[in-house]
């Protein structure tokens, strides 16, 4: 009960911050519109997809990451800088309730952003939703949200001020988004190391597991095991890798998290 009330409280705080609302909710939408206009909504060479069918799920994933990773990390570090985390520690609220409430709040924001991007893609750019794959896509989104929330808390634990947390989270996400099929799709001319690097990190697993739910080149509802030819849509290896990253990051965060801005 306290958890839900605190999560609602955190959501209310978010809605009072226009810059945060813009970056997390509106930015993926703006990118979708700009990129679709820039490249024209035609079939991408070498893929059975048009521009919007590729970018809609990619930017939906980006929105989830902006909320659960970047915004969670920066807002938590800012609250710590302001002494709010320290003050919260002086109340009867158990620390885990506060952290989980923050994660629940950013997850709600993430799903709002995701639904907004997909609805815009479907209504404005003719993106087709493959309904039998929506349960798999939802599982990917939930595991992805938790994995990146956990990574966000790790960044907040490892860096001490909101400035460094901001810099570190941007420095991690922006280059990674380019090798993780979010801003650009690798084509025949892309070096092999690009997806290789991307596969080492959780972001590419998040994006391709979610995107394939919108890709007719793959078959099945997503819960089957992967096949040798790679034509079956399987989320299992991708959510497995995200879960490993998430658990690892949560352990690091739990070990190093500080409630005060500076140690005396």
């Amino acid at each position: 009960m306290m958890l839900v009330q605190e999560a609602i409280h955190q959501l209310r705080l978010f809605t009072r911050r226009p810059a945060a609302v813009f970056f997390v909710v509106a930015m993926p939408l703006v990118l979708l519109i700009v990129l679709t206009q820039l490249f024209g909504n035609e079939k991408i060479q070498g893929l059975g997809l048009n521009t919007a069918q590729f970018y809609t799920p990619a930017l939906a994933v980006f929105g989830v990451v902006m909320a659960c990773f970047t915004y969670l990390a920066v807002s938590t570090a800012t609250a710590r800088d302001l002494g709010i985390l320290k003050r919260v520690r002086g109340t009867p609220m158990p620390p885990w309730v506060y952290i989980c409430a923050r994660i629940m709040a950013v997850s709600v924001i993430a799903f709002a952003s995701l639904v907004l991007v997909i609805a815009t893609g479907a209504l404005a750019f003719g993106v087709e939703i493959i309904w039998e794959r929506t349960p798999a896509a939802a599982v990917v989104a939930i595991i992805g949200a938790l994995c990146f929330a956990s990574l966000g808390m790790m960044v907040t634990a490892l860096f001490r001020s909101s400035e460094t947390v901001q810099a570190a989270s941007s420095a991690a996400i922006m280059p990674l988004a380019f090798v993780s099929d979010i801003f650009v799709r690798p084509n025949a001319e892309t070096s092999e190391w690009v997806p290789f690097i991307g596969n080492m990190f959780p972001l590419r697993h998040f994006s391709i597991a979610f995107q394939r739910a919108f890709d007719y080149a793959y078959e099945g509802s997503g819960f089957a095991l992967p096949d040798a030819e790679g034509i079956v849509y399987s989320i299992l290896p991708h959510i497995g890798i995200m879960a490993l990253w998430g658990i690892g990051a949560a352990l690091v965060a739990a070990r190093f998290f500080q409630w005060e801005a500076r140690a005396i």
Binding site: M2, Q5, H9, R12, L13, R16, R17, L82, G83, I84, K86, R87, R89, G90, T91, P92, M93, P94, I264
Partner: protein, 308 residues
């Protein structure tokens, strides 16, 4: 029964002893003040009592509880105002208090807390638009909304203007009248004299003097000073027994003594007999403020030895 008992508390940070061998008791229902300059160890002490910091050694009981091992229970029964203001600027006053109230089992009525801290008329204003004094009163509201038995106030008025300080004093007095035990830290002797029933002067992590303000006054403020306008040379008729005790400074003569009455008698008799102009005469007794400043400067002027 004592609300707080501290015995032989020590705490150091990276080789610097912030608090050493500190012992004191706070009785239930009293307002206890820790007075001292910056770096004296007041905040360290309070944050150990609140459970934020772990002591290196010593025994601490707050409401009969160990802050390190029984922190959850302690946090339900205490309220706190930290040294630095920490509020969400986007919320309104009422929202802020409501958010804290729901963290306690039996919170006070929010409207009555708003009235107590004199913020009812501003309850729908955003916290970001409040003045320093209003923010501090809001933090006191957050400290008392859980209906605590004990409230910690770490420098509640530092940096505020005199009027805002007075308002907070009234608030603290009213809180204490309702039976709440208060532990206060402050830089200001006037604040401690106005509020505290018991005080400890902290210097260099140690208690330099402790007691009820009136007792301290009696114990330390033993001498009175008689002062009047005079040149460095007084007439030969000046009472001979007073002459050795008389010093001259900036056009004044000064006599310092425990009981000024016989000297006053001698002086006024001499002035009446000789026609000497003694109309500028004054008698002052050292106040606690002077004692405090003396204790602080004695300690701080000591050659650097035990503190790096």
């Amino acid at each position: 029964m004592s609300a707080i008992s501290v015995s032989q508390l020590c705490k150091s940070y990276g080789g610097r002893q912030a608090v050493r061998e500190l012992s004191f008791e706070v009785q239930k229902g009293e307002t206890f003040a820790l007075l001292g300059p910056n770096g004296a160890g007041k905040t360290t002490t309070i944050e150990i009592l609140e459970g934020y910091r772990k002591p290196d050694s010593g025994t601490i009981r707050v409401l009969g509880l160990n802050p390190q091992t029984q922190g959850a229970e302690l946090k339900r029964r205490t309220g706190l105002v930290l040294q630095t203001t920490a509020l969400e600027p986007e919320l309104t006053i009422r929202e802020t208090i409501t958010a804290f109230a729901r963290l306690y089992r039996a919170p006070r009525d929010i409207s009555s807390v708003l009235i107590d801290v004199n913020l009812a008329h501003l309850q729908d204003n955003r916290v970001g638009n409040l003045s320093g004094g209003q923010k501090r009163r809001l933090e006191i509201a957050l400290g008392i909304v859980g209906d605590p038995e004990l409230v910690f106030l770490d420098e509640p008025t530092t940096g505020l203007d005199p009027e805002a300080r007075r308002k907070i004093w009234t608030l603290i007095q009213r809180l204490n009248n309702n039976g709440c035990t208060i532990v206060l830290s402050s830089h200001y002797m006037d604040e401690v004299q106005a509020l505290a029933s018991h005080m400890a002067i902290m210097v260099d992590g140690h208690i330099a003097a402790e007691g009820r303000p009136r007792d301290l006054q009696r114990q330390y403020c033993t001498h009175a000073t008689i002062r009047f306008d005079a040149d460095a040379r007084l007439p030969d008729s000046f009472p001979a027994d007073l002459a050795p005790n008389t010093t001259f400074r900036d056009g004044h003569a000064e006599l310092v003594m425990e009981d000024p009455v016989p000297a006053l008698n001698a002086l006024t008799g001499w002035a009446r007999d000789t026609g000497y102009d003694l109309s500028s005469i004054s008698v002052t007794r050292q106040g606690l403020e002077d004692i405090y400043l003396q204790l602080v400067s004695q300690r701080q002027d000591k050659p650097q030895g035990d503190t790096p």
